[in-house]
Symmetry: C2
Subunit: 349 residues, 2 copies
Amino acid sequence: MGEVIVPSPADFHVHLRQGTLAKLVTPHVRKGGFTLAYVMPNLKPPITTTAQALAYKAELEAIDPTVEYLMTLYLSPDLTPEEIVKAKNAGIAGVKSYPRGVTTNSDGGIESYEMYYPVFEAMQRVDMVLNLHGEVPSDAATNIHVLNAEPQFLPHLHSLHKAFPRLRIVLEHATTRAAIDAVKECGPNVACTITAHHLALTVDDWAGQSFNFCKPVAKFPDDRAALRQVIKEGHPRFFLGSDSAPHLLHSKSTSTPTQGCAAGIYTSPILLPLVAHLLESFDALDKLQGFASTFGRSFYHRDLNAEQTHKVVLQKISAHVVEGKYGAGEESVVPFWAGKELGWKIVAS
Amino acid sequence: MGEVIVPSPADFHVHLRQGTLAKLVTPHVRKGGFTLAYVMPNLKPPITTTAQALAYKAELEAIDPTVEYLMTLYLSPDLTPEEIVKAKNAGIAGVKSYPRGVTTNSDGGIESYEMYYPVFEAMQRVDMVLNLHGEVPSDAATNIHVLNAEPQFLPHLHSLHKAFPRLRIVLEHATTRAAIDAVKECGPNVACTITAHHLALTVDDWAGQSFNFCKPVAKFPDDRAALRQVIKEGHPRFFLGSDSAPHLLHSKSTSTPTQGCAAGIYTSPILLPLVAHLLESFDALDKLQGFASTFGRSFYHRDLNAEQTHKVVLQKISAHVVEGKYGAGEESVVPFWAGKELGWKIVAS
């Protein structure tokens, strides 16, 4: 197969940052082949109100108006059922829940869900999506660490789904076989995003290599096999959310023993060719359209008719080397797969 | 308790390197409180003959003659039963086995043990110690990765012990509960070293922090608890081998996505105070003498009488901040615990 057409590719989990960094990375959504970006709210300060979300959306549209930005709110005690109704009416698509302290700008994240039940009730009523960062915080006393933080979270997923069966929930960036199985067991209102990099990496790849370090961390080969398998099955509740998370070069490299590196892998500028390359590597290229567009659009009620669809064309090539970085000097960002070859290239977008 | 005396502290696993780096780090054995160093043979080229080992020993003695250096050979197909006899007669203490490719300069490491049985037979006969780096190489197809590489190795330990019950074997730098249990199950000829840093770290500490990255990688909180517990028990077949492994600053920091950092943590210059500090943290300070001297000396037949003993005195202090680095510029090495406080200090050595 020398060419693949993907109808209006949609990235259902992306970090577009703010200020200077937003100006650098926002255009990379389209450069990477995507016409829809589901935008995470973990800014400083976090996006907790409809007004903030709309202002942020306007900022992104001013940078690149050719992408559809679906906005989210950051779950916190300040969020009220009234704000949910307001957000829904303003076109905001979801609410993102972060466990406290596990990833970039998550210090205000949640510790227990029950206090949010009135908010979830409102979300269920107005049909807004709950996006879960599915990890519990590490705790040496109970043997919870970065490798089992996701499996340990799954009982919360089941409890939430049981308490709010009509609430649409997305378990974000699944990395384990346990998570894949848990989402499959749930009903049609529970879906799951999978990143591109978790289809490539295992723990061995981030051991001693901070550029491959992200949260959730890549797990074991058997977990990676489960992610690949569910895509190969063409399961419609598993779709792409890149979790593309740019960090400036200096915060990704570790040069001192007192400061660890930032968690995050940046895939936006090469996303569609990378996903094609990876799916081809495990014989799932025929699932690219579903995984990178239609499954997610369907779950999010964003189906398009033929007229609305923007066709992106990928062509098989012998060797396309990914750029080493974007931006200049201290303000640069290193993409995933930097300096390595991809077998696919966007020829029409 | 304000003072602890340790009789002739012995570090039964240390990397002293060669050339310029050896000149920097060899004096740190004594600086860290130790009068015996069991020296690893993974140089470039590896120490595979008696002649090389004796030349290396002379090099180390020229740098610091106040330390007793116990030398080892690197297990490889070139090693013959005849060379074992020669090595024994020259005072060489052990043979170190590296699995292929799992750590620094291990490209010539072993893949299967049966071909070495004639060598092990000779070692058993002349009473030379076999030192095992107890990990199997990662293999995605069989779900072997850096976190389970040690448990997956343990059947090899049991096979070797069964085939050569009188051969003294040391499982080096154990990091898992499974390894502790396996060594306990073996007879009196099988012992185990434990590093200082594995008493402090878990996987969360090296996730995104290359200065805490070493092989074997630090595992889960429950594994760390097992290492601490066996020391607290005062089990005489578990003793200190620091695996202190200096790497120059530039090879520990990750500044590009194509080059991972070197595996290794450097503890030599602060070793005895660090071990005291850590043992105190889990109420095992009363086991310091056994863990850092007598247990290992006894297993290696290096007991000392009162006259031969060199007493090292540690004093409890309020705050001693560990140096940020040793050496200058590109030639510098960052120690473990850099910039952090230790509660113990050597006052007589």
